[in-house]
């Protein structure tokens, strides 16, 4: 084994804190108590942010329209439960496949152009879906949202209860699976080649990487995971609405990821926890104006440098 291979292997090994995180996740289920609903939202947000991390942190695509896939997954799962069959697992798979298809379709659009062009195209796709969901009210319920979705029991046994305990377990398992899959992907040669083309596309091309095919593949995967997150929120709340496609969603998930840090997979999870807790605290204190503090936080975050905020030990060093 060459030195390069050894170092890549070492990078891919499970760390102690990753295992600790897994244990903490299992423990959180038993300690959840009355907070299972909130924890469920956190798990779903973490999954959503994880999917964005794949394209932003690893492939370097700045997207302001990632909610497109989230909302699409949510509507697909809700409609499937309402019109075809109420089984959640089948619905989840259908939503994932549908979102992946949409992602593959849209990936053609993000391959070309500058950051600005990509920003506008992702934003545009989300806006188009928003308008569609708004206007096709015979199908989606329009501005009122899609109501009357009744979910069947999970695996035919576990009913979704009012306290969200089943929901939380369900979301947690899906999140854990997604982390394992994403982890496998980013440590594979494919994942390493993504980082290469993020850092320098020209050089990546000249060592013979097919940039477009790789970007399209990771965009599709990210769309599938975002669709899974959307499906989870629709299934556990029994409701899908325009809110899932809104610009605010895309901005929020970007913020979540940035709080947690991009490009190391767990940023989404830590970011989701920090974001939800912060949101709960600040909006309890000033419900109407909490976005002001969100904005201030963003500005300071960028001023300080977003890589440094999560690494307090670097604050005193000169950059």
């Amino acid at each position: 084994m060459s030195a390069v291979q050894t170092s890549l292997r070492a990078n891919a090994a499970w760390r102690w804190w990753e295992i600790a995180l897994g244990v903490a996740a299992v423990a959180s289920y038993f300690l959840a108590g009355n907070h299972a609903l909130l924890l469920n939202e956190i798990a779903i947000l973490a999954l959503f942010a994880l999917s964005l991390d794949l394209i932003l942190g690893y492939a370097g695509i700045v997207s302001l329209g990632h909610a497109a896939f989230f909302g699409f997954g949510a509507y697909t799962a809700a409609l499937f439960a309402k019109l075809v069959m109420p089984d959640p697992l089948v619905g989840l798979v259908v939503a994932i496949v549908a979102s992946a298809a949409l992602g593959a379709l849209c990936s053609v659009l993000v391959l070309r152009g500058s950051d600005l062009t990509r920003l506008m195209v992702t934003l545009g796709v989300a806006a188009v879906l928003y308008e569609l969901a708004n206007k096709l009210d015979w199908l989606t319920g329009g501005a009122d949202g899609l109501q009357g979705v009744v979910m069947g029991p999970l695996l035919g046994q576990f009913e979704f209860d009012l306290y969200g305990r089943t929901a939380y377990a369900y979301s947690l398992v899906v999140l854990a699976l997604a982390v394992v899959i994403a982890r496998r992907v980013v440590h594979s040669p494919f994942g390493i080649s993504l980082k290469a083309l993020r850092d320098n596309r020209l050089r990546a091309t000249s060592i013979g990487l097919s940039v477009n095919a790789r970007l399209a593949a990771v965009y599709t995967l990210a769309a599938a995971l975002a669709g899974a997150a959307g499906a989870l929120i629709a299934q556990t709340s029994g409701f899908a609405s325009l809110d899932g496609l809104d610009f605010h969603r895309s901005a929020d998930v970007l913020l979540v990821l940035v709080i947690g840090g991009t490009g190391y997979l767990y940023g989404g999870i830590f970011g989701a926890i920090a974001f939800k807790v912060l949101h709960d605290l600040v909006s309890a204190w000033t419900p109407q104006y909490w976005t002001f503090w969100l904005g201030l936080f963003l500005v300071i975050l960028v001023m300080v440098g977003r890589d440094r905020l999560i690494r307090p030990w670097t604050w005193r060093k000169k950059r």
């Binding site: 700045v62 920003l119 506008m120 806006a127 969100l294 904005g295």
Partner: protein, 287 residues
Amino acid sequence: MLTLLFDGIAYGMLLFVLAVGLAVTMGLMNFINLAHGAFAMAGGYVTVLLMNRLGVPFLATLPLAFVFTALVGALLERTLYRPMYARPHLDQVLFSLGLVFMTVTAVDYFIGSQQQMISVPSYLQGRFDLAAVGIGKYRLFIIVICGLLTLALQMVLSRTRFGSRLRAAVDDPRVAQGLGINVNQVFLLTFAVGSGLAGLGGALGAEVLGLDPTFPLKFMVYFLIVVSVGGTTTITGPLLAALLLGIADVMGKYYAPKLGAFIVYTLMIVILTLRPQGLFGHKGASK
């Protein structure tokens, strides 16, 4: 039909004045600024507050809106924006998004979330018919003002020494710097004028577009469309893109109200997929 076209042109001209500052600053520093709409809103509120609370006549508030937002723009450029130029685009997006969130809530807090009413003077109200085309006086006023501004901008850019410095800096900032052009100063001035124009546009458009604290978020996409479709290398590109957008939007709302903004977004995606550099852009030197 022609009346619609006329309204569309007025709307497009307005969008152009609102977005031209963004186009130039984006082309100059390759900086993605989502907070441009905040300057437009500031201009709108200057006009509304001066008129409604102090009773300043409408026409007199327009230059004030321009000056005020230009000063704010210059101040912010010098203090907050300048360190951001060298950052990755993601940082710029987050930073300007943060600014938007802050202005939206700050205006909501200090002035209130309601829609601001503005009453243009009576000689600008109403409409008259010209060869069977109904022409709104205020719309005509907008077209005339914006047309004059466009001409003036074009003259400044193509005829004056400052214009040639600016164009040199847009084409290649490093070489321009090497030739002894103070790119930072050029940029400060451009940013201030661009913000001022946005402010003026916001003041002019308060009656047409409406004015409430969510203005920067609502119109952010429109400004960005103008810039990304028009390209940032010329001034005619954004102008044509703005006119196209204005006409498409007005026509779309009239003939197919069910589709709403759908047409505009689809059009943008198609154009950007086919021409990633924008309709009228060409590849810059070292972007």
